[in-house]
Every structure is written in C-alpha cells, then in structure tokens.
C-alpha cells in the first residue's frame, strides 16, 4: 500500500483505518482525520451577512508530481518526529460536492500520543505546504479560497519542537 495518494476517486474510511493496523499486533493506537467539503457561507463574504447562499461545490487543483512529493516529505518528517508504524494520506482533487470527503490522514503507532500528534502535524503541514488550491462555487460566482493565517500559525507551532 502506498503511503500517499492524490486521486479523484473517493475513499472508504473504514477500510483505510482497518488497513493501518491489519496484521500488526503491536499497533496499539490508530488516529485518523477526515476532511469534508463544508456547505457553509463563511468563505464567501460577498454573499453578504443576510445571505442564505451556500457553497455549491468545490474544485481542487494540484501540481502533479510536486504535490505527491510534498506529501511524501511531510510524512517523512512525521516519521522522524514520532514513533509511527503506518501512515496513509489521501487527498482528492477535481470537483467535489458538500459532505464529500476531501482528505484522509491516518497513522498507527504503539501509543496514542504519537498517533494523535503525528496526525495533527501532518494535517497542519498539508494545509500550508502541500500544493493544493480550492475554488468554491457559490450562487455569486466562483472564487479561489484564500490562505488562512490560522493555518500558518497552526503549522508554525511545530517548528522548533521535537514532539
């Protein structure tokens, strides 16, 4: 099983989680994160405070070759920081509808601390260092999602920290 996938197809959360600890009696912890397309209007300010419009769809663009390499590098950094057994990162691209899966991050470890921390680290770095760009479709038109400072801060808190 490859550790990193960038794909249009959906993934099955249950089988991905099961695969992280399959045939590994020393895996004592599996932590995972699933990101979904959110149908709110927080990211579409031009709709206005009283608007009822929602994000109708999201299109994910990526940089073939570089995106996979960036994800692999993030996984390598996580493995250097924590005692991990298996890691799986799946990021979808193309056009996605509300409630669809966007991203899966799962890790297995002997102990929960490493699993929780590595999962969060991978997501924080993915948000700021892996080349994916989101474009939202709203009734007011399409717009690219701006990067968030809160994501930069979340990634920065790992810098200079061992775990």
């Amino acid at each position: 099983m490859s550790e990193v996938s960038v794909q249009q197809a959906d993934f099955d959360v249950g089988s991905e989680i099961a695969a992280l600890s399959a045939d590994d009696p020393e895996a004592g912890a599996v932590a995972s994160f699933v990101g979904l397309v959110r149908a709110d209007k927080l990211c579409a300010p031009e709709v206005g405070a009283g608007g009822t419009a929602q994000v109708a769809a999201m299109t994910l663009e990526y940089y073939p070759g570089m995106t996979e390499a960036a994800l692999a590098e993030i996984v390598a950094q996580a493995k250097a920081r924590w005692q991990l057994k298996r890691v799986r990162v799946i990021h979808r691209v193309g056009r996605l509808l509300p409630s669809e899966h966007i991203v899966f991050v799962g890790v297995s470890s002997s102990h929960r601390h490493d699993a929780f921390a590595a999962c969060e680290f991978i997501m924080d770095y993915l948000k700021t260092r892996a080349p994916f760009w989101k474009k939202e479709e709203t009734p007011a038109g399409s717009r690219w999602v701006d990067a968030r400072e809160s994501d930069d801060r979340a990634a920065a808190r790992w810098e200079g920290k061992e775990t």
Partner: protein, 81 residues
C-alpha cells in the same frame, strides 16, 4: 537558456496561461529575477499577495538559482485539506 514555467490556481487564471516555455539569455538567474522579468508581461506575478515559487517541484525562496532546462512554478498560497 530554456525554461518551462507553470502557473497555478488564481495566478493561472489572472495570466490566462497554465504553462509556457521561455528563452532567456544564457548564464542562469534566480527565481526572484525571473519573476521580475516575466512580470513585465504578466503583471499578476508582481501583484499577487504572498506569491510562492518552486524550482523542479521543490518549494524555494526568491534567491534560488534557475538554470537551463529547469521547471519553475509560480502559485498563490496553498489551501488544501
């Protein structure tokens, strides 16, 4: 020297191009200098906030060297996940 230059997301839309091949005088340059050179034709390269770059699929700073045959990419801050 010949370079392949790629543009992504909102930057690609603003420029109206996803990729182009450019010829420059021989001798190498930096990503920052290339941004200025191409910015004369594509103003969005100079006006995009927090523009990022990669050389040969590795994110880099503006001082990174660029040589003949390199693939250089420009893009806005990433927003995946």
């Amino acid at each position: 020297m010949t370079l392949k230059v790629l543009y992504f997301a909102s930057l690609s839309e603003a420029i109206g191009l996803a990729a182009e091949t450019i010829d420059l005088p021989p001798g190498g340059t930096t990503v920052g200098a290339l941004r200025q050179t191409l910015g004369a034709r594509h103003p969005a390269l100079l006006t995009t906030k927090n523009l990022r770059a990669a050389v040969n699929r590795q994110m880099c700073g503006w001082e990174a060297p660029v040589e003949d045959g390199d693939e250089v990419a420009f893009f806005p801050p990433v927003t995946g996940g």
